[in-house]
Symmetry: C2
Subunit: 126 residues, 2 copies
């Protein structure tokens, strides 16, 4: 499946780049100029994930957030980005923290996806 360049794709990518944070589907929809279908946004984002352009985190609120963070090695965004995320309970912002985390798993365990989220109050809201 070759990828095609479309307006939707580029706009979503711009929004993610401009934000610098991890954004939910809803946040993206709000920041996009044109009306864009929910399904389309999810499909674009999932394609980005497959291509390693973006990574996904699931918050303790059960929602998916997508980020194109500078800290990530581009080729590692897909699965093994093991840095910590912070979600502010007040303003809703989800940011990628600089610190990575290497967890020594017990013998015989194989890690595929890291989903590390700490929720609380960010600098601006605390």
């Amino acid at each position: 499946m070759k990828r095609r360049s479309t307006a939707s794709k580029e706009e979503i990518l711009e929004v993610l780049a401009a934000s610098g944070n991890a954004l939910s589907h809803e946040m993206i929809q709000d920041r996009v100029s044109s009306a864009m279908d929910r399904a389309t946004i999810y499909r674009v984002l999932n394609r980005f994930c497959e291509d390693g352009k973006v990574h996904k985190v699931v918050g303790d609120n059960g929602k998916q957030y997508f980020a194109m963070c500078a800290n990530c090695d581009e080729k590692k965004q897909l699965h093994s980005h093991n840095h910590i995320h912070f979600r502010c309970l007040q303003c809703g912002t989800v940011e990628c923290l600089k610190q990575a985390l290497s967890v020594p798993l017990p013998e015989g365990y194989v890690a595929k996806v890291h989903n590390l989220v700490i929720s609380g109050f960010c600098k601006a809201c605390s």
Copy 2:
């Protein structure tokens, strides 16, 4: 609101204790003898969380898991249990790993909830 002791409550608690792992609503429903309503299970579990008897983790699949783990200081189960969880992509088991994790947050950040989940293949499935 005083709590009352009911059959549902006790049975759910037994299931959690017997398992030792973090269980989803569905897993609990399967292991409970009597037919129990979904809403009831969630309400019981949420009450346990409030009372600090149980803690909750949200997986990268967006589902909630509830655990009564031995490693936890009982009074800390509510919010600050900061240990890591492992979810097996094959068998679906979610376990509380022994290791806790103290993350030094940036200046001005306040942590309230730790939701740390690593997914992959457990010892039995890898």
